[in-house]
């Protein structure tokens, strides 16, 4: 079923969308255009000399084996962040949905981490795991599990996944909770009368009805992991050990803001932009079709 509002006036709809269009143009299209432009230039740090180099920045990227390797790192990281933060958020949302007393209190606490800046999240988790005096590192050590994210690639990856996912749980929680509350109670009650166990009711009724929310969150989480996590990585691991936690967006940040290579950094942003456009198109074309809103 299509919903369509008809305006009598020819200009009113344009006026109404104008503020949003202005924001999109200024904050999305303009910077994206700048990135496209810079990606074909080579500049010195201060921008006093600037040379058109065509595809050279892109050529250099794809000749670099470590850049190609960081695609894999990014895929692993994004999947872990999306999977862990979404499943944890779903669990918390289902539980919070049942709480009768102090519901507001729990919800507030669960939403809180969303306000934490990515860098702060990175530092926070780093302090928990800093060996040997971080609380969790100390506890692990006591259990005979030495923790060393400075040299162990798996530990380092786990650390940034935890820091990045923890922040995102709040966001996912909010949407899952809203999704749960919009599921008609009558369906669940009918199933209960038919003798379905709570476990069965969840997987056959609640979870499928949450699919639009889950799908939306999957897109949002992957985009989050792709773009918003460079601060977390910088604070927690600097992309190390070696390049084992150097995800794509961290390299964009490092090359642009630490190494002052604007052209190379812009070329990487363009690649990232293409990836996310492709991901979104694929998901909306093929996945959304199967989901009934």
């Amino acid at each position: 079923m299509e919903k369509r509002v008809l305006f009598k006036s020819a200009w009113l709809p344009w006026v109404l969308v104008a503020p949003q269009m202005a924001i999109v143009l200024v904050f999305f299209f303009w910077p994206a255009g700048q990135a496209l432009y810079q990606s074909v230039l080579q500049e010195d740090a201060f921008g006093t000399s600037r040379e058109f180099v065509g595809w050279e920045n892109f050529q250099r990227l794809f000749d670099d084996a470590s850049y190609l390797a960081s695609f894999k790192t990014t895929a692993v990281f994004s999947l872990w962040v999306a999977a862990s933060s979404m499943s944890l958020a779903l669990l918390l949302a289902v539980m919070a949905n049942r709480v009768a007393r102090l519901a507001g209190f729990y919800k507030t606490l669960l939403i809180w981490p969303y306000a934490v800046a990515p860098v702060v999240a990175g530092v926070l988790w780093l302090m928990l795991f800093a060996s040997p005096y971080g609380v969790i590192a100390y506890a692990l050590q006591a259990m005979g599990l030495p923790w060393n994210h400075l040299l162990d690639a798996d530990h380092a990856m786990a650390l940034i996944v935890m820091a990045a996912a923890w922040k995102q749980v709040s966001y996912n929680f909010l949407f899952f909770l809203a999704g749960l509350q919009s599921i008609p109670q009558s369906l669940i009650e009918a199933a209960a009368i038919d003798g379905a166990s709570p476990w069965r009711r969840f997987w056959t009724i609640v979870f499928p009805l949450l699919a639009p929310t889950t799908f939306f969150l999957l897109v949002m989480n992957v985009i989050y992991a792709f773009f918003d996590t460079f601060g977390t990585v910088d604070a927690a691991t600097h992309g190390g050990p070696g390049k084992d936690t150097s995800i794509l967006v961290y390299k964009v940040y490092y090359d642009g803001f630490k190494a002052l290579d604007m052209g190379g950094s812009a070329a990487q942003s363009v690649v990232l932009m293409l990836i996310v456009i492709a991901l979104t198109v694929v998901q909306f074309r093929f996945v959304e079709r199967k989901i009934e809103y």
């Binding site: 080579q42 010195d44 740090a45 201060f46 921008g47 006093t48 000399s49 040997p132 005096y133 400075l150 040299l151 162990d152 600097h238 992309g239 190390g240 050990p241 070696g242 390049k243 490092y254 803001f257 630490k258 190494a259 002052l260």
Partner: protein, 436 residues
């Protein structure tokens, strides 16, 4: 009427507060936090109190790379600060950005200040001097790597607290004793590339990069995969395997572990001095950087780190007069000597060193002269320092490759070869980008 009169009085008194002659404000962006930040603020305050025409306003802009990025963004937008503190690895980038900076020699000349380049400590000023003899930036806070050790831990391990190890074999022996006494972190280091490869090369009078470490041209290439370098990294890798050397992360992350007492010995910047004196709760000793006694010519001298002050281009002539006056103030023997004694940074001028020496400071604070004696030696072409383009990336590459060694995943030779190869790609790019 009454309220109008009140308003008039208020307006008048507000006017009175403004000095008759407007001061010229000099913006100074720096990266000195904590105890060092207080030092910078004190310098500006004292300079402002010493005269009436100029007002230096220091602003903390985050770590070295953050303040450099901020200044670049500001320069592109046309509001760069007058003075920018840039770390030594940014030197080649600043030198290549001719339109963005104004050489200090020019600033001093136009500012009408007496300026004698020979008054500055050559090992320090030489690093910031162009091939044509022009001093490009003001050598504000230069440090050099030294060997820090915890005297209390030495005593507990049965080592002589007044005799720090001076060679790498001795370091390994001392570390073994510390470990036997129950110490979890006998030895660590901050700034791996700076202490273990760059200074290591100069200290043993071998090259880190060709073309005299980049001083003689942009076509310089890395050469730190020689047998001597491999031997040293192998030695450290063995120490890491047996728990004698503990890796504590990139940059200066290891500094905190020495100050807290967690690690007993550390190679790091001489400027750690002020921090340890203030926050360390143990007997603190400084020794010279260790070396291999069988290498001919060792020990030579160590290379500088720290930062210098660059003057940004495109400001008014009166502003530059203020900058020149401020630099003259910083070079005054008393001011420079006080800075040196307070921070552990190297003395800027020869006179300030002599003043400190005469005052008996080195005798009262044993170890504080280590950095000076390591630096104030006749340098060779191989030991003058390391000046490379894209140096930030080169250092990160070294960090990345060596982490593979400490984790036991890569052989030292393999890691150094790879670091040289990857680093050279960066040098080639810098050479290409700055041909003209």
């Amino acid at each position: 009427m009454r309220s109008k009169a009140k308003l008039a009085i208020a307006a008048l008194s507000a006017l009175m507060l403004v000095p008759a002659q407007a001061q010229t404000e000099i913006q100074w962006w720096h990266s000195m936090g904590g105890a060092l930040g207080e030092w910078v603020n004190d310098l500006a305050r004292d300079f402002n109190a010493s005269q009436k025409d100029y007002k230096v306003t220091p602003t903390f802009k985050g770590s070295y790379d953050e303040s450099m990025t901020a200044a670049i963004a500001a320069f592109r937008a046309g509001n760069a600060p007058h003075i920018l503190q840039v770390f030594e690895v940014g030197t080649a980038t600043m030198m290549a950005s001719k339109g963005a900076i104004k050489p200090v020699t020019e600033v001093m000349k136009e500012g009408g200040q007496k300026f004698d380049q020979n008054a500055y400590v050559p090992a320090v000023a030489g690093y910031y001097t162009a091939p044509n003899g022009q001093m490009l930036s003001f050598p504000f806070n230069s440090s050099t790597p030294v060997f820090h050790y915890n005297k209390d831990a030495f005593k507990a391990a049965g080592l002589d607290p007044e005799k720090p190890p001076t060679t790498w074999p001795e370091v390994a022996l001392a570390a073994a004793k510390l470990k036997a006494s129950g110490h979890k972190c006998p030895f660590t280091t901050s700034w791996i590339s700076w202490t273990q490869l760059e200074s290591f090369s100069a200290w043993h009078n071998v090259l880190f990069a060709s073309k005299n470490n980049g001083f003689d041209g942009l076509d310089t290439r890395l050469v730190f995969n020689s047998p001597l370098h491999v031997r040293h990294i192998e030695n450290l890798a063995n120490m890491a395997k047996s728990g004698l050397f503990v890796y504590k992360g990139r940059g200066n992350a290891a500094d905190a572990t020495f100050v807290s007492g967690e690690c007993a010995m550390a190679t790091g910047s001489s400027a750690l001095y002020g921090n340890v004196v203030r926050n360390g709760k143990f007997g603190y000793g400084i020794g010279t950087l260790p070396y291999y006694p069988d290498v001919q010519g060792a020990p030579q001298n160590t290379v500088i780190g720290g930062a210098s002050l660059w003057v940004m281009n495109g400001k008014k002539a009166t502003d530059y007069k203020g900058v020149a006056a401020f630099f003259s103030y910083l070079s005054q023997p008393e001011v420079a000597a006080k800075s040196h004694q307070r921070t552990g940074y190297l003395p800027v001028t020869k006179a300030s060193f002599e003043l400190t020496d005469k005052s008996g400071f080195y005798k009262k604070n044993p170890g504080t002269d280590v950095s000076v004696t390591q630096m104030i030696r006749k340098t060779t072409d191989k030991s003058r320092g390391v000046r490379l383009g894209n140096f930030v990336q080169v250092r990160t590459i070294i960090d990345e490759e060596l982490e593979g060694v400490w984790a036991g995943k890569k052989a030292p030779k393999e890691a150094l070869d790879l670091a040289v190869k990857r680093g050279n790609e960066q040098l080639e790019r810098f050479q290409k980008a700055n041909k003209s």
